[in-house]
Structure formats: C-alpha cells, structure tokens
Symmetry: C2
Subunit: 188 residues, 2 copies
DNA sequence: AAATAATTGTGAGATTTGTCACGAAAAGTA
DNA sequence: TACTTTTCGTGACAAATCTCACAATTATTT
C-alpha cells in the first residue's frame, strides 16, 4: 500500500526515503465497510481521503431528499468534501463506501503542516488541485453541451469498470438523469 | 491596477514590496477590444489571465458548431484554458472579450519560475486552484440537481451584474439551456 | 441619421426527460 | 436455504425543453 501511495506521489515529485516517511507520518490508514459513511452531511469533516482500495460515492441530498451523485472515487483517487474540509464547515455532502474500502486520511492541520515542512508537497497538491479543477470543468462542459446518451457513452468508454461495480441508479444520478431514463437509453 | 492585483494576492499571502515587484515581473499587461479573442480554439495557449477590467467568456464549440459558455470572467477573476495551458496543448476552448478588457497575463514558464522562486506563490496558486475546483464542483451539483429556472434564479441572485453586461443568449448557454427556454422562464 | 447587425420574445409542434406504478430478477443477509 | 432488500426494466402519461420560424426591438457601425 505504501508503495502505491509513493508511486502516486512520485508521478508528480521525486521523494527520498526520508521525505516519504515524513509524508506518511501525516496520514493514517482507515477501513470502512460497505455502506459506512466517511463523511455525513451536516457533520464535521475531519479528513480528506486517498483511496487505497474499494470504491466511494460523494453525494448530496437536495431539499426534497433526492440524492445526487457528485463523484465516485476508486483506487488511487483523492476524494473529500473539499469545501467543508478547507473552510472547516459542516459537510455539504456525504461520502459513503460502496464497497469495503481502505483509505489514507489526512486532517487539514496535517495538510498545512505538510505543505509548510515539505514545500514540494505544496506543489504536489497544486498539481492535484489543478487536475481536479480541469476535470470538473470538462464535466461541466459535458453537462451543458451533451445529452444523456452521449454522457452515458462517454462515461462507459472512459470507466467501463464503474458499470460493473456501481448500481445503474447511481450512474444515472451521476449523469444527471433518472434511472428510468438511463435504462431506456441503454436498452435499444 | 497594481494595487488591485496586490490586494488580490494579499488576501491569501502577505508580500513585501520587493516580493510583489518580483511577482509583477512575471506578468505583462495586455489590452483587448470587445470581440477580440484571447484564446482561439485549436491555437497555442500562451497565457493564463487575470482580469483587471472588462469581461470575458470562455466557450467551447461542439461538433455541430454550437457554442457553449463554460465560464465568464469579470474583474479580479482568473481565467484561461487550463487544460491546454498546463499541458501545453492546443486550446480546447476559446476565450473572448465581451467588453474592452485589460488583463495581466502569465506564461507557463513564468508560473513555474514564480512557484520555484517564491514558494509562497505556490501556496497562493494552490488556494486559487482549490477554490476553483470547489466552485466547479458546486456548479456540477447545480447542473445535475436543479432545473433551468432554479439555476437561473441562483445565478441572478449571485451575479446580478452579469445580466446587465451579458446578452441573455450567453447566460442561457452558461445555464445549459436554449435562449428561448430562458426567455420563457423569465417572462411569466 | 441611416444602415446593418445583434438581441429578444413568442407561437407551434417535436423530442427528451421525468414521474408513478408494477413486477421480475438479482444480490445480500439471516 | 429461505427471506429480505435492492436493482432493473417497462408502460402510460405529464412536464420540461428543444427546434424552427418570424417579427419587433435595441445596439452598433458607417
């Protein structure tokens, strides 16, 4: 596991053994079972997460109680309620395990200390944040410029594995349509 | 203008006069007239921009030639085709002035040099990237969980000034609906 | 001021998507 | 295995949104 995480970081910056050890000291390993919540809407947000193994969904319940999937997170992905995490506000979304999931987690304090003590890591997080921002913007583009079928095809093409690991109801929610619509899109 | 930019940065990190001078040496001031393109889809992307005055729209032309507004940028906002900028790829979107606009612009090389020479600025950019990521995610949430009317109301409430400066056709595009639909939403 | 271009509103009808309801199938649990 | 829960597909109808067309208005340019 540590090797995976180190490889993940070293895709962006090089680290000595000592530096990696120092990085690791800011994280703790946690295990969650299927259906466990890592973050509950309204509760305090203690951590940002890096997924070691398993699968998470980030979602939001609207005024009418409907759930909307904002994101999935698989192995090697970062996830969290970043608004709440960085601003130390109650969670605006919930983060839930769809499979038994192991994560590395980091508090805001650890994040800040890490950036301060090992400036390279600031650059690492900057890269991650930029990538995240870019892919969010591409998703926005998709949502405003394509119909449900096109979004479905693109997601299937990009993350085929997701369709085997996640109920289609949640895929539909992620795509911004109802499960019935998605079902009809895929049938004919 | 320099004062505005300094204030903008100092909302996140403190700078000495010399440090700010050093920061400024990585930017150049440019002026664009209404309808000018700062970035043309397919062309090389030389800069990321900070808007001094004026108004920009970032948009994307789909396969059928339809334009889709991904973002607007007003005074004190950063904008650019970040995917193309950071990966040094041809522009995926175009950035166009909707009013005569003055910007500070920065090359990728200047960005990297600045991060290297003044680590505080890495932290500044990290903050900006995180905010950008968060607000993109909130927009995604809005797109998948609310209808056109709700999105319209929210935008009007948040950026009323936009409705006086931007044709409603473009607002509609930003909201992911046609101008006819938007027109009917606002009429009754 | 006149000419041109851009913006806006609205009707009519097609298309997409949502809602509600039901049952079958599959997966998870005891 | 038996029981329960979750997932999935589909019909029927309602609602939202899109497309195309045209005219009126407003801005911009000459």
């Amino acid at each position: 596991m540590e090797n995976l995480f180190r490889a993940h970081i070293e895709k962006v910056i090089a680290l000595t053994d000592d530096e990696f050890k120092h990085v690791m000291s800011h994280f703790s390993l946690m295990n969650f079972k299927r259906r466990d919540f890592l973050i509950r809407e309204g509760a305090r947000v203690h951590y940002a997460f890096w997924v070691v193994s398993g699968l998470l969904k980030l979602d939001y319940a609207d005024a009418t109680g409907k759930q909307h999937v904002v994101a999935f997170a698989m192995e090697d992905w970062w996830e969290g309620d970043y608004y709440a995490f960085f601003n130390q506000r109650p969670a605006t979304m919930s983060l839930q395990a769809l499979e038994n999931t192991q994560v590395l987690c980091m508090t805001l304090q650890d994040y800040n200390n890490l950036c301060r003590n090992l400036p390279k890591m600031t650059y690492f997080f900057l890269q991650k944040a930029n990538r995240g921002h870019i892919s969010s913007q591409q998703r926005i583009l998709e949502l405003i410029s394509t119909n449900a079928k096109e979004r479905y095809d693109k997601l299937l093409n990009r993350y085929p594995i997701l369709f085997q690991r996640v109920p289609h109801t949640l895929i539909a929610s992620y795509l911004g349509v109802t499960r019935e619509t998605l079902s009809r899109l895929t049938a004919p």
